[in-house]
Symmetry: D2
Subunit: 377 residues, 4 copies
């Protein structure tokens, strides 16, 4: 693991998600660019001190020399955005598979370079847009794919949080600090951090790609350097329309990623904070609530179901589902087999599309919230 030392949030999430199903073990890490801090974090995690490093470069060098039996199957990168590309490139080129936190990179150019590296090295790169790991999200996608929803007309996706309602970064709070710093976070704040999740979720469920968009980003908190709120009108290829809004100043909201999809035959509604349910609305029938764990759930949903209906699964289980798929790909790679055809995790292509989203919303907003064509991948 690269990053994710003491005080980090997403590192711990990755660790739980990766080991939950008994299919992986953490054995090495460069948890901080401060060597002592990295060591301390390694000790917290019961690691062999010899495999805890002061930098990712050192780790790549040393771990590349491990004998086959001890060799890492993959590396997890959970550093701030500006530290995604360099280690990802290095580890891929050093022969390791990579699991990378989102958004893919610091900017679109880097994402495209990373795509080239992945292509060239033929290693596995998994991007943890974790919300697509939810069973009911997979069910929603299935209802689109199997035609139950009909032709999609409208998508409303929203992701309000409230934790940056105040000038939190001034207090030195670590999560706020780097996420609001253009040098580490990239061109966008809120839209990069969570707006990309909204874009990704909508695309995953609907299969729709953005044709053009008009974005109005705002920095509400005085002194903040990046957007903390953004509202986007979307036109999808093929004629569907969309509204995407995201915020970190929506005071009192926690992690309210919600999506509604309306087709000619049915509407879908999924709320991340209550992830075990999916509302399905046919125009002329009683409203349906599909619930995780039941017999009527699609095969792809059942595959990721650990416990019966009514026993709520949550954020960590969905995250672990991304890992389950990652493991299938990584196992095949490690064993020199062809990758399974039905892999279901976000790839560097999703990462490129996400970075294109960030770049486009920022550009649109800077030009007075003008409509812009979404760039070709």
């Amino acid at each position: 693991m690269i990053g994710g030392g003491r005080g980090a949030f997403i590192g711990a999430v990755h660790r739980i998600a990766a080991i939950m199903d008994g299919k992986a073990e953490l054995v090495a890490g460069a948890f901080s660019s401060d060597a002592a801090r990295s060591k301390a974090s390694g000790a917290d995690l019961f690691l062999d001190p010899a495999r805890v490093y002061g930098s990712y470069a050192e780790m790549a060098r040393a771990e590349a020399k491990q004998p086959a039996a001890q060799r890492l199957d993959f590396v997890i990168i959970v550093t701030p955005n500006h530290q995604h590309f360099p280690p990802a490139k290095l580890f891929l080129e050093s022969g390791f598979n990579v699991v990378l936190d989102k958004p893919a990179t610091f900017d679109l150019a880097e994402a495209k370079k990373l795509r080239a590296v992945v292509k060239q090295t033929r290693k596995v790169l998994v991007l943890t847009h974790n919300y697509t790991g939810n069973v009911m999200v997979k069910q929603a996608r299935e209802l689109v794919r199997n035609g139950a929803v009909g032709a999609i007309r409208k998508v409303v996706v929203e992701y309000p949080q409230g934790w940056l309602s105040t000038f939190l970064e001034k207090t030195g709070q670590k999560q706020a600090d780097w996420r609001t710093d253009p040098k580490r976070s990239g061109a966008a704040g809120c839209m990069g951090d969570i707006g990309t999740h909204a874009e990704n979720l909508a695309r995953y469920i609907t299969g729709l790609h953005i044709d053009s968009l008009c974005a109005d980003l705002t920095t509400f908190v005085k002194g903040r350097k990046l957007d903390d709120d953004g509202n986007v009108l979307v036109r999808y290829r093929g004629g569907a329309k969309g509204v995407l809004h995201s915020s970190q100043i929506s005071i009192g909201d926690e992690n309210m990623l919600n999506i509604r999809v309306y087709g000619t035959k049915a509407g879908l509604e999924w709320r991340q904070e209550f992830p075990n349910e999916l509302v399905v609305k046919f125009g002329d029938q009683p409203r349906q609530t599909w619930r995780r764990g039941n017999g009527y759930i699609c095969d792809q949903g059942k595959k990721f179901t650990r416990i019966p209906a009514g026993h709520p699964e949550g954020y960590l289980e969905a995250f672990a589902n991304i890992y389950l798929e990652a493991f299938r790909a990584i196992s095949a790679e490690v064993e020199g087999k062809r990758p399974p055809r039905d892999l279901d995790f976000p790839t560097i292509d999703d990462g490129v599309e996400g970075m294109a989203f960030i770049e486009t919303v920022v550009k649109s907003s800077k030009r007075g919230a003008r409509w812009l064509k979404f760039p070709k991948a």
Copy 2:
């Protein structure tokens, strides 16, 4: 009552709302421009046939001659939009107070003319943006007014319906028929019919006026002549941002007018389909659900409370609340007194603002969803 005969929807609503509290009685009407139909509707309502008319003009003439004891205190106009201004003007000028269904008129120009008529005749004109009659909407406004919400940053208001997901007007369904006809409905379909409610509700609660907007309207159903969906980015005077979207092709949604307001101190959330509750979110406290009928409800909310907490009031009661306020104004007018200072109902000024909203969103959308300044009232 003008309009609202057999097969109408909103006419019956007005009648129930107006009489519910035992403060008014229906005594005359021109329920249809078809005289026989008007008579039949009058008979359904147990009216004296002598006071049931074949046209509003005939009614205005005849009723103006009634002796004081039998004279109408006010007239309710519930015809399609293109038939708002002519009877409103005539009745006002004939000395009657008027309750007028929304939107105010066919277009903005008419609304301004009507405003002039109201000013000149000094009669009462009440516009039934009924949702502002809800107790918890009044409570929301109070929390903005008393500073609990702080400075408003963001407003998300949405009004999806699904009943026009198909080409319903082709079947001759009366409600669909006129609402999708530009000659009767005006320049907008969905945005005029319900988008204006969303705009009005947001303005009522927040007190904010739109500075500029960018609207993307769509007609999804083939053959339809007006928009059946619209997404709008809003910039309010003073710096708040907004998202307003409204639809009649959101399949499976019924009448899902929802609003969220985020300030520096608290967030508010109200859902029309569950109108007895208001969610109040302070950033660092348990989320609060304020419920109609309790002791902590503001005075203005209590004033419009018929039954105790837990006994749900609904759409008709909120509508009737508009009438309760109308009656206070009308009583004063009839008795030649000054109008009370604290009247709480939508006026022709709200009507003008609503018509400006319609005109601006249509214009914006036609120009490629460009940002447009909201016109001065």
Copy 3:
């Protein structure tokens, strides 16, 4: 109207419910046994002072002499329980139809006497167990009747309120005062006031009659004279089991009448505070939420639907639905016609069953919460 003067709660509810649909008018009343108070209440309601009386007996005498054209079609009795039987008997025997608030009478013996009076006079008596007026309650009953639910196994009905969590009657609060007074309320407090609603609702939906029960009533608030909480195990005729609990010390609960019915084929769930929805659970299908106003609602439900789906109807509308049915019966009676066969309102038979319920739970509880057979009607 008998009772329901200033300070009363249910009187105002009856008035709104009775006039809401434009089919009745209040013309006379004995609103209080204090003549001055009665007069004042009559004036509040714009009544002709000549028809406002100081006692129900005076009113019965005077109104019986009215000429046919002005004769009352029915009398509404909304006095405390001990004042139900005397006026009901008098008015029925004086030739008037009667709408009577629940529970029917002071005790079971009176209820049986009243049943005899109704039978003998052949007048209409309507008991306002208002919750059965809800459209979605009618839909629930229909799903039982049409076999969708299968054979019923279990019924859970609960009615917690919290308003009597403190010794409110000590403050003189009028509603608390008489409801906790055994001389006016009868043998039970909470169980008589709202437990009977729960029993009635369960019986209406399921058609099941209680075979035996075991009741544990409690008076939690020191100084109170009647039960403020009760828990009842129920065995229904035919083998279904039930849990019925009701409380007025469930602090923070408002009017939370909820019912769940489980059959061999499906489960039903209805919550009074959100009355426009009915949850239907088939074991192997997505959970369904049936919503008032849709095309799939049963005919009997549609009959009582004033406004479209998504426009919430509430307590008053459900109450008014009882009146709509009452009017059908009363019209027939007044016109000397046979009563319609499909009348759907609670009758004196329901009243007798309700009083038997009160008597039995009180007796069971007093005997140490022993099982008792439910008395034959």
Copy 4:
């Protein structure tokens, strides 16, 4: 691990819960009394075949001889109820700490014997009444303990499931098979399997112990040998009253463990299927929804919080919280230290109380649903 091989449900849950936080590793098991099946399960779990056994007795013997470095810190027992006591006794007496699935044993007598063994061996025994691991359950308990709820008056706890609505055991479905078999499950079916969870949850939150109860158990499905539904009236020591009902024929319900607690000052409401929220109702204030992960959550709740507010945790995380506490006790035991004073997991004392509950409800029901004193522990 003892039990939990292929086809088992709760074994997999224990494994995930135990390893989720990176603090334990599965190294040995006797997963089935069928040696081949046990081996196969061990292979599924990547275990060293040498440490996979054909019987728990064999395992106890062999593992007791492991050198200190490889010695098991604890054993997890997840066999059917009749196979709880023998291995628990054996492992405790062989010097191992034990995590034991609920209910504790086959009957009360065994539970008392097990208590004696625990006392004598001074080993740790953790009983996985997992629902008490939920953060919001801990918060609920804290609100009782710190006086916010006041003196408790009423407890309503319910646990309906629907999965045994049909004669599922006839199909050979493994979970149904043993749970409905009196030889393996014990004297109760539904009440033992999940009624005990309800009893335990209520006791954990309120601290109240049952004084007497009256239980009406039913077997609705023809051919079934144990109860599949039970309704219980409860009187707690100190005067509070309770309703506890539980069912496995509540068709369409999944795992709907809900609890409501009403005190003199506030009411609490927690629903297992939406575990991140706790509703707190003060009589005269807006209703509060406390949500996991926020700053206002009590210290004991925060201790068990892995991820921020709005990122839902679920069943597995709550289960893992029991393990986190188990590990603290086990670590101390292994290191020969005194156990921490603030351990927060269910013990054999809870197990004895649970078995007493089962015995008493069965006895009460058999005697015609008579009131019985709850036995002294």
